[in-house]
Amino acid sequence: MLEVKNIHAAYGDAITLHGVSFDVQPSEILCLLGRNGAGKTTTLKTVMGILPVTSGSVTLEGEEMSSLPPHEIPRRGIGYIPQGRRLFPELTVNQNIEIGLMTRGMGKDTKEWVLELFPRLRERLKQTAGTLSGGEQQMLATARALCLRPKVLLLDEPTEGLQPSMIALIRDVILKMKNEGFAIVLVEQKVDAVLQVADRVVFIENGRSVDRATAADLKRDPQMLTQYLGV
């Protein structure tokens, strides 16, 4: 499905990615783990074309993405939910969803589908997005990205700043999306949360993918977690 091969990227002259590789398949959750500043968010931004790929490749079902303008990448099937949600805070929940639907001309059936995934949003349709709780904002950000009917979802720290009950709710949502057939790439700091949902883990260090393991292996032997995260 999504294959990232040895990508390099830079902010101006500062090279930030020195070779990151991973792949993710439908109904699979891949997690990128690493210390702060390791390059996890930069990797997601590079996949989305926000940072240009200086070498390497990003392919979705065999189609090269790195040569496309950034706005074309979500249209081809990669949804991105950035850190901090980045909603349209002055617009209502309904308007936020409508903007997601308009991109590819999706209709009421798609809207119904996302509202079934996130029933709490249905109760908040007329409320402005900026007034939602953190967990609800995360749901809305996810719902809006799903309105494009993506094949792959990139989630950057979806549980950041949320209370435990909301974290559990978001975890359930992620698992629900996995069961719907989405390929999910998750960046997350909370190791416990990762091990509960991820199928595989790729460790990022200094802008490189340095190791990989299955979540099951990490649960049995957490030595890699100690080595790369110091936990």
């Binding site: 950034p70 909603l87 349209f88 590819r104």
Partner: protein, 314 residues
């Protein structure tokens, strides 16, 4: 009542009120209102870019002047009939907006303001440089005999009011429709968070350029209308002051609202008109009132109405 029905009712009520005012206002005020409607078209054009797309231009006077000079020179030098001259004025403004947008939209924020200001200053200097044709600072008048359209004399108070109202209505209803369209809603998304809009698959660069051209085109309609109805074309309209005015009007009336620009122009016009009848320091009075309004109604008159009372206001 649905949101669309409420919105349509409101817009038609505003137009109905303007029609009614024609019959009840004394000539002095109906003349003022004709001028206000033309300037409100200019403010509505500015509102597309500033209020809905979130781009603050300091150079819109060049589009107003492009429409004005495009029209005036077509009539005076080219001898074109009014409708054709009007279209020429619109085309000049749209073409200038396309070129300016293509270059200026490579920047954002303060840089965008500065670049548009510089373009406008250049346009102003061009007007002065080609003084042989434009008559420089002095400007030129369009003869009354040339301001006839289908036998209607646009120099008469009544015809001027009706023509201003027709043009205002056309722009007002068209823009109200555009704002509710997919294009308009995308502009709002760009205003709220451009990167997020791009990550939802919108070509934000192309949308901003379209918004700039539309905004310039509407400003050009206002410029051409001003020249046609009031018979004067001058370099004053290309100065930075005329780039600041629409910003003030829109801020006062309510950025990102459909009725705000009309209200902003109306308020500011009569604020200056009234205060100048009381004191020679009328600009000081106007300044104090504007500061107070900005402090207590930071979202403008219609913006505050929307925030406090009618959340559905378009």
């Amino acid at each position: 009542m649905t949101l669309n029905a409420k919105s349509a009712t409101l817009h038609l009520s505003v137009l109905a009120a303007l029609v009614a005012l024609f019959f009840v206002l004394p000539p002095y005020h109906s003349g003022n209102l004709a001028r206000i409607m033309v300037l409100a078209i200019y403010a509505m054009g500015y509102n597309i870019l500033f209020g809905y797309t979130g781009l603050l231009s300091l150079g819109h006077a060049m589009f107003f002047a492009a429409g004005m000079y495009g029209f005036g020179l077509s009539v005076n030098l080219g001898g074109l009939p009014l409708p054709l001259a009007f279209l020429t004025g619109m085309a000049c403004a749209a073409a200038l907006a396309a070129v300016t947008g293509f270059l200026a939209l490579r920047t954002s924020g303060v840089a965008f303001m500065i670049v548009t200001l510089m373009f406008a200053q250049t346009a102003y200097l061009v007007v002065l440089y080609f003084g042989t044709y434009t008559r420089g600072d002095e400007g030129f008048v369009i003869q009354s005999a040339d301001r006839m359209i289908m036998g209607v004399d646009l120099t008469s108070e009544g015809a001027r009011y009706v023509a201003a109202l027709l043009l205002f209505s056309a722009c007002f209803l068209t823009l109200a429709r555009i704002i509710r369209s997919r294009f308009g809603r995308t502009l709002v998304a760009i205003r709220e968070n451009e990167e997020r809009a791009r990550m939802l698959g919108y070509d934000t660069g192309a949308h901003k350029l379209k918004a700039m051209i539309l905004s310039g085109l509407i400003a050009g309609v206002a410029g051409a209308a001003y020249a046609m109805l009031f018979g004067y074309v001058g370099a004053t309209f290309a100065t930075v002051q005329y780039s600041i005015f629409p910003l003030l009007w829109v801020l006062l009336g309510g950025a990102g609202t459909t009725i705000g620009p009309l209200l902003g122009v109306f308020f500011m016009f009569y604020l200056i008109d009234f205060s100048s009848s009381l004191t020679t320091a009328y600009m000081l009075v106007a300044g104090v009132v504007l500061v107070l309004l900005t402090m207590f109604a930071p979202q403008g008159l219609m913006g505050e109405m929307r925030k406090r009372v009618f959340a559905w206001l378009p």
